[in-house]
Every structure is written in structure tokens, then in C-alpha cells.
Symmetry: D2
Amino acid sequence: MKRIAVLTSGGDAPGMNAAVRAVVRSGHYHGLEVFGVYRGYNGLIQGDFKSLTLGSVGDIIHRGGTILHSARCEEFRTEEGRQKAIQQLHKFQIEGLVVIGGDGSFRGAKKLSASGFPAIGIPGTIDNDIPGTDFTIGFDTAVNTVIECIDRIRDTASSHERTYVVEVMGRDAGDIALWAGVAEGAESILIPEAPYELSEIIERLERSRHRDKKHSIIIVAEGVGSGVEIGEQIKQRTGWETRVTVLGHIQRGGSPTAFDRVLASRMGVKAVELLLAGERDKMVAIKDNEVIGIDFDEAFSQKHQPNLALYDLAKILSI
Amino acid sequence: MKRIAVLTSGGDAPGMNAAVRAVVRSGHYHGLEVFGVYRGYNGLIQGDFKSLTLGSVGDIIHRGGTILHSARCEEFRTEEGRQKAIQQLHKFQIEGLVVIGGDGSFRGAKKLSASGFPAIGIPGTIDNDIPGTDFTIGFDTAVNTVIECIDRIRDTASSHERTYVVEVMGRDAGDIALWAGVAEGAESILIPEAPYELSEIIERLERSRHRDKKHSIIIVAEGVGSGVEIGEQIKQRTGWETRVTVLGHIQRGGSPTAFDRVLASRMGVKAVELLLAGERDKMVAIKDNEVIGIDFDEAFSQKHQPNLALYDLAKILSI
Amino acid sequence: MKRIAVLTSGGDAPGMNAAVRAVVRSGHYHGLEVFGVYRGYNGLIQGDFKSLTLGSVGDIIHRGGTILHSARCEEFRTEEGRQKAIQQLHKFQIEGLVVIGGDGSFRGAKKLSASGFPAIGIPGTIDNDIPGTDFTIGFDTAVNTVIECIDRIRDTASSHERTYVVEVMGRDAGDIALWAGVAEGAESILIPEAPYELSEIIERLERSRHRDKKHSIIIVAEGVGSGVEIGEQIKQRTGWETRVTVLGHIQRGGSPTAFDRVLASRMGVKAVELLLAGERDKMVAIKDNEVIGIDFDEAFSQKHQPNLALYDLAKILSI
Amino acid sequence: MKRIAVLTSGGDAPGMNAAVRAVVRSGHYHGLEVFGVYRGYNGLIQGDFKSLTLGSVGDIIHRGGTILHSARCEEFRTEEGRQKAIQQLHKFQIEGLVVIGGDGSFRGAKKLSASGFPAIGIPGTIDNDIPGTDFTIGFDTAVNTVIECIDRIRDTASSHERTYVVEVMGRDAGDIALWAGVAEGAESILIPEAPYELSEIIERLERSRHRDKKHSIIIVAEGVGSGVEIGEQIKQRTGWETRVTVLGHIQRGGSPTAFDRVLASRMGVKAVELLLAGERDKMVAIKDNEVIGIDFDEAFSQKHQPNLALYDLAKILSI
């Protein structure tokens, strides 16, 4: 193996640059030439490749976003699109591909390897919703961004004795809501994986008021429903001033945390090792602090589950 | 004068605690006893007073929110409410009051002094919308919070080549939008004080695209209209992916910046000096870096105007 | 069991407050009364106890330091001191103690339990140097503080093309240096657990210069030696401008990260569960993402080892 | 005038990039071609010039450091060196130069203009030590970096009831120490512009202890002397645990604050306007919130003085 390529796909996540850097640097360490593919699978189809030197990935480990840019790509879902991509890869004499992205991106990578082209996935998404790995790149940063924002809201909440509802990202997975909720001592945490009763939420709020709590924070994962609507319901039922904040896209950005930079570095190095070892159909994962490779099929056969022990913990601690 | 009191009123702003601390500490320095009044004018009416020692205001200079809590108060708008307040003040033998808050809070203070009770205002609001002072306490922190959020959005914007619309606070005043817009190099800044043409915004966006700009950011003060709607219009007219973020209440919180802590400290000391000098009807202001007292009437007779030179500057710099 | 107590001991660490909160809240959840002991073992000897309600630990989960204060205590190392402590505990009818701190604090707790008084340890120290647990409370925050500082130094380093030496905490353990070094893409990382050759460091620096690297960062754990001296040696050997920063006590402070808040919350709950289960001589630990209890003896029989795979990783990535 | 150039010189300061961007963008706005000169006056002598497009300065407004790099340059102090520089400028048909830097850099610019080449200075230095302007670019960011660090130290200080001495930058000017001291409520602030008595510092510390203050912070500008030595003296005189932190180079870095980005943007635009108006020997300054041009000679004839009213304020507030 002499040449490999790397791309980022899907929603961007802080730490993707650290992973790109690790793929490039460890590729060079092993004597490989490494190409960057721009704008995800679109660039793969169009041959938007650039050879990356050690210096190309200098001074990016601490930057959010992805220098390779990211995009979704409909064409790659077609057999024809993938054939174009493979032709481009052959044209550049590239023998292996590293795909940094989420679930959908991995399904593309899996199909590529099914067509005979070695592809390794690195889980990069703030949602932490990829089965088979304890953590994805970007999750830790996103949770820290969320709590930094809620720490600010907390100031104003306690000055006014109000209830605040904060909607965070997580269409299918409640991980961000769960971690941020425990980290903020939220009154209630609403996640897609657990049913909720509005009456129970109200009851907890009333209990808090009763013991003279200054402010209450309720965290809602976007997959559960609109924070604005839930806030409206609480207001109607309690009559208390209730304010809603939808954190939105700020959760995707920012300089990655140490955890994400280290995780991304380890995963990038592992991906290159897997390619060199002849693997052609694997995803890098972290399990019990160890970075390993697992078959895409193994990952796809599971369903991601957040750490629901945290859900119970939150109930004990917001007693 | 032997006893004074201090309260915070209206929306809270970072730096209010630093101002409370300065009133208390400089009061003690001048041999006064200083009472804190809780929950704004409500506490004044209900006699919710507490004598504050040097230690009561220790370790608060860096905290957002207000330890005295804040609230709006309908009753104080009535003559009856104000008479109750004055009775409470007399009961506690308090001879002067410092009110930290915004425009509305000052109208209350003005009426109090018209009834013969000395009251001094300190401008504390993130909106910077109080006439007669160059800056209000909390404004600098709010602008820095906004740019920290937009710096994050910038990461993801440049990874995806999208247009982002960010709605910031400012119902009547465009100051936050203007400063944040210049500080972020925004494509367009929409403020209540200046008319805008959607076609001009689109034109600027197209020009940017043309010279291969990676991302475009448009800042909208809430007083102009809904960021969501403006984003929708841009999307419809350009066909480009446009994402909207409404920053909301995170703009009110956070540890105050150095500028706000120093401004609040200076203003708090000045307010006590004004009371001791026998002033009974003034607002503290900063003009050309100097902290002074001006008559409430003088302030109320003007209309706040943001620095519109920044508006023109932004157009030059986002060429 | 009806009454338990909690104290913080040794150097403070961000997240200690979150752990105190979790002990108090989960204690109440299980129907216990929970006392806070002030200033570590000193307060235990002097009976400086205070009953903590749910509200006592409100609004502290996000604060650095420890509301219980911390201190070292010589007297507790004596049999006499410990007997006084046990008398105080009996006097207050306390039946179990949770000690949040480091290695030295646990040896005290172990002796207490050897005297028949149930004691459970929670690992709280930024150094991550406690055997038997993958992570200690405060470590993640400290590493993130370090990288935030080095990100700043990076700006000025790249503007001037200089070499920067940064000394970080870690008298016996290189964990902070190692994680921060990987997260920053440091040129060289000097830790107590691995020998270093100045000539190899110089060689790496020269190789970097050769490929036109803009700035070089060398991280030194304080246990290895003085950053100032190492900087001086590099300057003498290379003739390049070399600047040294000793990060110092800022590494101990700051609002805890999400990771540390969640870890502390989990560990606090676990400590109370262990006491209720009749355990009297255990330390809470996190192993492979699971929070468990292990015997003090088991912990003490091991030697803490940082993840040396990161050391090798750093060499590959700073090629 | 058709072509101008811009360089950064001396120590770097956050906001320099925003100033470079403003010079380039407003230059283009006025129809000029703008060249960037690399590594300060060195690049001027060596002809290290590059034409900067609108896109060259995209996405830099929020970055610390300077994309043009900075350096000190001995050769430019000689007549010969300056003649080489003027030849390079003529060779590139450049008709005006903007120099972003400090006092020393302006003396070079002044000599250039004395030789007949139009040069305009923009004050960029964290020290705020340039006469004639209320603020320099980078000062506000540096003060905020300092208080962020001291806020962290504060956590650990209050957990241990210790005295902390923090040495900040400022060889000749006490501005950083003064602002940070007021913003942190420091016990004592030591600046080069005011004599200090160790006995008075001790007295203030003792008074604080007496009223049960949890922690004391003393800020020392580096121009006053070594923080380590002052800490040692305090320790010897009081016997209390005293810890010293020397903040060092982290004060130079970081993303610029809103204030610095806006100031830099305004100053960059003004510099180009001055060149276009035929000015050849001026420095941009901000006086009473207005951005103006003043003669270099006028600036050099004054002596910078920090706002000593803050010094007195600090004494009142740390009573």
C-alpha cells in the first residue's frame, strides 16, 4: 500500500481536524502518501483530491470544523455514483480510504468495501449515536459547549427565579441531553429513549419550588419534541414564568476538548494501521478506553443505547 | 447620611454584582451602613431588606446575575406602591437609594426622588439602550458572549459552505448586533435604527459567493424581526442552505468581562459619592471614559443612538 | 445507618463540589442525614461539622474548588489525632465517612476504617495519579485548562517562530503532560515515567524547523525538572529563541468539565451506596466506564501508570 | 495612490489580524492594491511582500497572533537598513505603509517618513503603554485573559485560605495590573507608576484576615519586580502560605475580544484614510471613543500614564 485517502462526511464535529491530521501524519510515518478528499463523497466522485504533506495538517489539531469540508451526497447512494468514485480512486492510484463521519457515511463506506475497495470508518459526530463505540469524536466537546451555555442561563435564571427549558441536539439519541443534564443538575431530562410524563415534570418542579430552589432547568433532546412547545405546556400548567432556549448550531462548533483531540488522534492512527493490516471493512471504535477495529456489520447489527444509568442518577440527584 | 440601600431591577446584566459590591464597599468606606433590597421594587415595597457587610459582597465581583435578585414590579408604578416603599425606607431609617437597572427602573427612581426621596441610578442592562451614557453595565459581556457563539457557528459554517442567520438581543437598540457584526465581519447587520432591503442583503451574499467566500453570517437584532423568517426569505430567494440560530437568554449570563467589572466598580463608587454630595435625582454615566452624574431629566430628554459609524464600517469591511 | 459525613482533603480539584453534592443528595435520597466536615481532617478532629440540606449543595455543581475547604493535617497522622476524630464522629452519631481526595487522604481513611470506623474514598485530584481507577475527579478539567492556555501560547508562538517550553503539574505522574501533549501536538513530552535525551528533543526540533514548522511546543511535567532549566538548555544548544511558561495554580481551578461533573456525580452516589451496603474500607473507582468499589489495599498495592500508548502516539504524530 | 503595504512589528497582540484585515479590505474598497510585508521590518528590507486579496484576510478577524508574523529588526535601526527598505518599497511601487505595533515600531515608521516615505502607525500592543491613545489593540484581550486565569486561581485560593501573588505583564506600564486588579477585587496592586510599601500590603492582608476573608490576591506588574520575590517576602513577614503564579506568554494570545476586534477594525480603516488624505507621519489613536490621527511627534512628546483613578478605586473597594 502506497497511497491512501481521507474524507469527512455528514455533519461536522469538533475533532474531525485532529483525526484528519492523525491519518495524514501516521500515513507519512508508515511511508504512505495521503490524499485529502474535499466535500465528502462529492469530492470522491469528482476527483477533488489533494496530496497532504505533514505541514498541510499543521496547526489544525485545535480547530473546530473540518479543513476538508463536509457535505451530504445523494449521488453516492447510487451504484453509478460509487463506480465513479472508485474510478477516481483508481486514477489516483489510491488503495485505501478513511471515512470520518456518522452512521450514514459508514453505510457508504461499507458499500465501497463491498465493491472491493478497502474503507475504514472513524466515528465523528456530536450525537454519540453510533453503535459499537463508547464515544464518537465531537461528543465531549458538544456536551461541554452545552453546559457552558447553560451555566450562563443559570446566572439569569437564579436572578429571576424562573424555569428554563433548553433544547439540545439529538434527533435519535439522548446522549447530549443526558450528559448535560447530569452535569447541570437539571430538574428533568427528556430523551427519545425514555417516555416522559408532563405531570411528573411538573411535580418535580413543584417539589423544587417548595424547598425554595432558586431556578429550575429542564433539558429536552430535539428528538423528543419542540422545546418551545414543552415550555408552553409547563407555563400553562404551572403559571410560572418559563423561558425557552434552543441552542442550535453553536453545539457543532468550537475548539475540540482534550478528550476529543486525544480520541481523534488515537482513532486516526488506528485507521491507518487497520488499512496497512489489510482490513477493508471496519470501523474504529473505543471500547473500555481501548481503541479497536470492529466490522461495520457488527456495528450496524446493534442499536446505540445511551448510558441510561445516568438517567436514574439524574433523578436521585435532583430529588 | 448614615444608611443607604441598593437594589437591582429589570432584566439582569453581568456586572450588576460588581456594582452592588462597589456600592456596599464604598458605602462602608465612607462610614455608611448599606442595605440590600431583594427582588427589585417588590422588595422595596415589602421591606425585604438586609444589612450588607464587607463580607456579604465578597467573592461576587466575577459572577453573572445579581445576588439581590431582580424582578419587574407593577405595584411600584402606582402612587400607592411608591408610598409603601417610602414608608419602608423610613422605617429602616434609610436616607438614599441606589437603583441598578435600565430605563424603566430609572423612571421609578425618578418618581421616588420627585416624592422627596434621594435616588441615584446606575445603568445596568445588556442592551446599551440608555441615553446619556456611552456604555451600560453588561453590554460588553453580552457582545463577547455573542461573538464567542458566532465563532463556534463559524467553524461549522465554513465546513459546509452555508449561510447562517443569527438573531441577537436588542428590541429597541441595535448596539449588540452592530458591535457583534463588526467583530465577526458579518456580511450584513440588521438593526432597528436603519432600514434594510432584502435585495441588498442578497446582493452582498452573491458577491461573497462569487469571490469564493466560505461562509456568510447575517446578524439580526430581535427588534428588526424574526431571524427565522429572514432566514426563510433568504433561502427562498437564493436557494442556498440557510440556517438560523436564535441566541436567546445565554446573552444575559456569564462572568462579566474586565470592562464591565471595572465600569460597574467605578459607577458604584460614583453613585455613593453622589448621594453623599446631596444629589437626589441623578444617573451615573460614562462619557468619554469619565464617570459622571447627569440629571435623570437630561437622560430622559435624549434618545439613545448606537454608533452608526460602525454600520458604515461594516459595509466597507464586508466588501 | 442514619448519619454520614463527607470531607475534602489534600489539594483541591474541580469537580469536588459536584461529588459533595452527590454524596449529600443521594444520602438524603436514601433517608440519611449528611454532615459536611470543614477543612479536611482538621475539621474532623475539631468537630467542625454542619448538617447539609438539599439546598446547601444547590448551585455548586459547576463551581471549582470545594465549599468544604481543604487542607492538609499533620495531627491526623497520629493515633491520638485519629482517636479525637473518632470521638467527634461518635459525638455527632455519625456512622460512616466519605473522604474526597488523593492518595495521602486515602491512607488516613484506611487507618480510620482499621480503627473500626467505616470510610469510603473518592479519588479527587487533578494529577490522575491514584492506582486502581482509570480517572480521578479534576483531571479532565486540568488537562482542558492546560490546552486552553497552550492554544493561546500557540498564537504568539506562530507569530514569532519561537520554541515554547510549558511546565505543567505532575510531581509523580505524567498524565497531564501526556494528554495535553497529544492534544496540542507537542514536539516533545517529558514525563517522570520515561527517560528523555536532550539530544533527541533537539533533533526533533531541528527536523521540524527543516520542514518549515512555524512553532514548536515542548511540554514538561514538573516531576521531570524545571521547565526554566530545560528551556535554557535548549536555547544554549540551538541558539533559537526559547520561552518558558510555568502554568502553576491556574491548573487547579475553573468550572469542572462535563466529564468531571458526571464522574463526580456517579462516584458520590456510589460512595453512599457502598456505605449503605456495609462496606467500610473501599475506594470508588472508574474502570472501563463502570463505577465500582475496590479495596483500599488493592489500590495501594498497585502503582499508577499513565497510558504510555499516548507517549508513542505523540512521537508518531509529531514526526 | 495605488499601492500600499502593511506590516506587524514588535511583540504580537490579539487583534493585529483584525487590523490587517481592515487595512486590506478598506484599501480594496478605495481601489488600492495592498501588500502584506512578512516578519516586520525584516521583510521590508528583504522584500518579503505578497499582494493580499479580499480573500487573503478572510476568516482571520477572530484569530490571535498575526498572519504577517512579527519580529524585531536591528538592521532597520541603521540608515542603511532603512534605505534598503525604501528601495524595496519603490521596487514594488508602493506609496504608503501602515505599521501595526508598539512604541519602538513607531520610531522606525517615523524615520521612514522623515526619509520621505509616508508611514502611518496603528498602536498594537497588549501593554497599553503608547502615549496619545486611550487604548491599544490587544490590551482589552490581555486583561480578560488575566482575569480568566485569576478567576481560576480564586477557586483554589478560597478552598485553601491562602494568599496568592500573580505577576502579570507590564515592564513599563501598570495598565494590565491595574485593570485586572480592579476587576478581580485584588487586595493590593503593585505597578511601576506608584511606589509601594511592603508594610502596607501586609497591613491590608491582616485586615482582610481579621474580617475572615477567604482568600487574598495581590497583583504585581513585572516592571515592579519579581512576583516570586515579593511572595517570598510576604510569606516571611506573615508566616502564611503564599503561592506565586507568573502568567507569562499566555497573556499575548487568544482570540481577540469584541472591543479589540472593533477597535482594530476602526483603526485599520482610519489608517488607510489618513494615507489617502496625504498624511505621512501620523499615528492612529482612540481618544474619548473617537478614532483620530495624531502626529507621531505629538505622541512621542507625551508620557503614557495609566488611569490612576483606578488605583485609588482599588483601595476603596478592597477596604
